[in-house]
Amino acid sequence: MKRWSIFALCWLACSSAWSETETALNKVEVGTDLPTLERGAETVMTVCVGCHSLKYIRFRELAKLGIAKDKVDTWRGSNPMGTAIASQMPTDAAVASFGKAPPDLSLIAKAREGEANYIYSYLLGYYTTPEGTTGNHYFPTTKMPDILAVAGVTDPAQHAQLEQKAREVTSFLAWAADPHAQERKALGYYVIGYLLIFTTMLYFLKGKIWARLDKA
């Protein structure tokens, strides 16, 4: 027993050392249902893509995800289905207005400490400074404007609406960063289930084989 607890401790130590959470990130339960993803995609495709690209996502994948064909057609315009989602703003223009190219969003939900929680907190993290400009609690030097118009919202109902919107965007970006996550988890249950049965059988087989020794 003692040995196993040491082993378990080692595993805990190995797995917990990297789950240090950033201070005061708001937790978000990422949605994986189609309506949430579709509404998130709507915001991303009509608002975020104004400046950001999603170069690892093609329009075809949005359709494959289950988003209505006519919506995808509106977003892609005359581009073929196999086109990667590009930013509507040329890089030069972006650099001229913001000083740097806006990052690609395909992997953004995995590319920041805190992952989805960070994206969610960041989108809602805008506030009005005493000087009358907007700042962000989670990324003070951000060049991105307060796109959801969070700063200055005092009405709780309105804020709740923005929270929902931020959650939808985060959910869509989380899908974009890891499009096979659902498939992976679904397969994982079968794999673990199979291994549990197989290992249990091996355990009894081991007992049976080792029992030969005691007879001798």
Partner: protein, 413 residues
């Protein structure tokens, strides 16, 4: 039919005698605990890394402009590419968990003693090769942490007296980590596993010459040795099942655990990440590097911290077998050492500020003190144990088998 085919082969190649000698008749101590499963597991992980790695290499592009995209292509577009890549990236960490436990078991039972010194040293060569392979493999996804990790580590070789700059240039193939570095790291990352395979062969030949150690540290009487097959094949398979359950939980449910967030950003030589941190399996050594205020001293200490394990067969000067199994002082030293390694790992994972700096220095001191004090501790412990009277269990074992014969092995008859 089968026996005729086997007969045909056996006239030309000793297949049946080989299986008999190495498996069905190979004598294995009956009292091995589950800690003895980890050698087999390490072999399994090696094969899995090789198999997934070869398929990944079919789609991966070792070019600074294509590497990051090609990894995303594998993750998104290739059928089950995400599975191959997550098995491979999780497998790297799993490899270190397995070999560190394998080493810790050797330390606990002091299995490195005569006649297994060569097992210990070939194991050390394997560890160095695995570390080098993991380090080079980590550059390949060409993320921010890949790039800056390689930049920092290759830079360390610059402290070599006289040729420092030339060595760094030679390693990178360029003045800073770039396309030349990526291409050569890819080539070597593909080569090294085969070197590892070769050394594993030597490790196993040595093992089958000296046979497995066991918790008592004394070679057992013939009746307490049992054939490897089927007793240990089934035990290893059961252990493998447990291992795979844990491994697959990571692969399928939390595969991002061992991938830094910053490594999902393409490498950018112009932007240094706020906190460059090596993979967890290098953290204790990294903490030792940072604990020495002088750069050359730090690099020497780090190299020494990995290599110093080699002196153990000489440093542990005792004639009492079984390591921590029978020796209370050695057991205490073992646990202090393991706790110290965990402490160093923690210090290595944090930015070097405040009380962590002296903590790291004390932990580094304890790390090396363990090795340098062991010759004295082990002598003193043996005298103390002999005056106090050896454990009756140990005396019984000695009576069964006189001490001068304790390292002789006899096969199962």
């Amino acid at each position: 039919m089968v026996s005729r085919v086997l007969g045909w082969i056996d006239q030309r190649f000793p297949l049946t005698p080989f299986i008999k000698h190495e498996l069905t008749d190979y004598p294995t101590p009956r009292n091995l605990s589950y800690w003895w499963n980890f050698g087999f597991l390490a072999g399994f992980v090696l094969v899995l890394q090789l198999a997934t790695g070869i398929f990944l290499a079919m789609y991966y592009k070792p070019d600074v402009n294509l590497a990051f995209d090609s990894v995303q292509h594998i993750m998104r577009d290739i059928n089950y590419g995400w599975l191959l890549r997550y098995i491979h990236s999780t497998g790297a960490s799993a490899f270190f968990v397995v070999i560190y436990v394998h080493m810790a078991r050797t330390l606990y039972y002091a299995s490195y003693h005569k006649p297994r010194e060569l097992m210990w040293w070939t194991g050390q060569v394997l560890m160095l090769l695995i570390m080098a392979t993991a380090f080079m493999g980590y550059l390949l996804p060409w993320g921010q942490m890949s790039y800056w990790g390689a930049q920092v580590i290759t830079n360390l070789f610059g402290v070599t007296p006289f040729f420092g700059d030339q060595i760094v240039l030679w390693l990178r193939g360029d003045f800073s980590v770039g396309d030349a570095t990526l291409t050569r790291f890819f080539a070597l990352h593909y080569l090294f596993p085969f070197l590892i395979f070769g050394v594993v062969g030597i490790h196993l030949v040595a093992l089958h010459t000296v046979k497995s150690s066991n918790p008592s540290g004394i070679s057992l009487a013939d009746k307490d040795n049992i054939p490897f097959h089927p007793y240990f094949t089934i035990k290893d398979l059961f252990g493998l099942g447990i291992y795979l359950i844990i491994f697959c939980t990571f692969v399928f449910f939390v595969p991002g655990t061992f991938i830094e967030a910053a490594n999902n950003i393409p490498a950018n030589p112009l932007v240094t990440p706020a906190h460059i941190e090596p993979e967890w399996y290098f953290l204790p050594f990294y903490a030792i590097l940072r604990s020495i205020p002088d750069m050359l001293g730090g690099v020497v200490a780090m190299a020494l911290s990995v290599l110093i394990f080699a002196i153990l067969p000489f440093a542990d000067r005792t004639s009492i077998p079984g390591g921590a199994h029978y020796r209370p002082v050695y057991r205490a030293v073992f646990y202090v050492f393991i706790a110290d390694v965990f402490l160093l790992g923690y210090v290595g994972s944090q930015p070097p500020t405040g009380y962590l700096v002296p903590t790291g220095q004390v932990a580094t001191f304890i790390y090396f003190a363990t090795f340098f004090l062991l010759p004295f501790i082990s002598r003193w412990e043996e005298r103390w144990m002999r005056t106090r009277g050896l454990p009756s269990e140990l005396i019984a074992l000695f009576e069964k088998r006189p001490p001068r014969e304790k390292y002789q092995h006899k096969g199962v008859k």
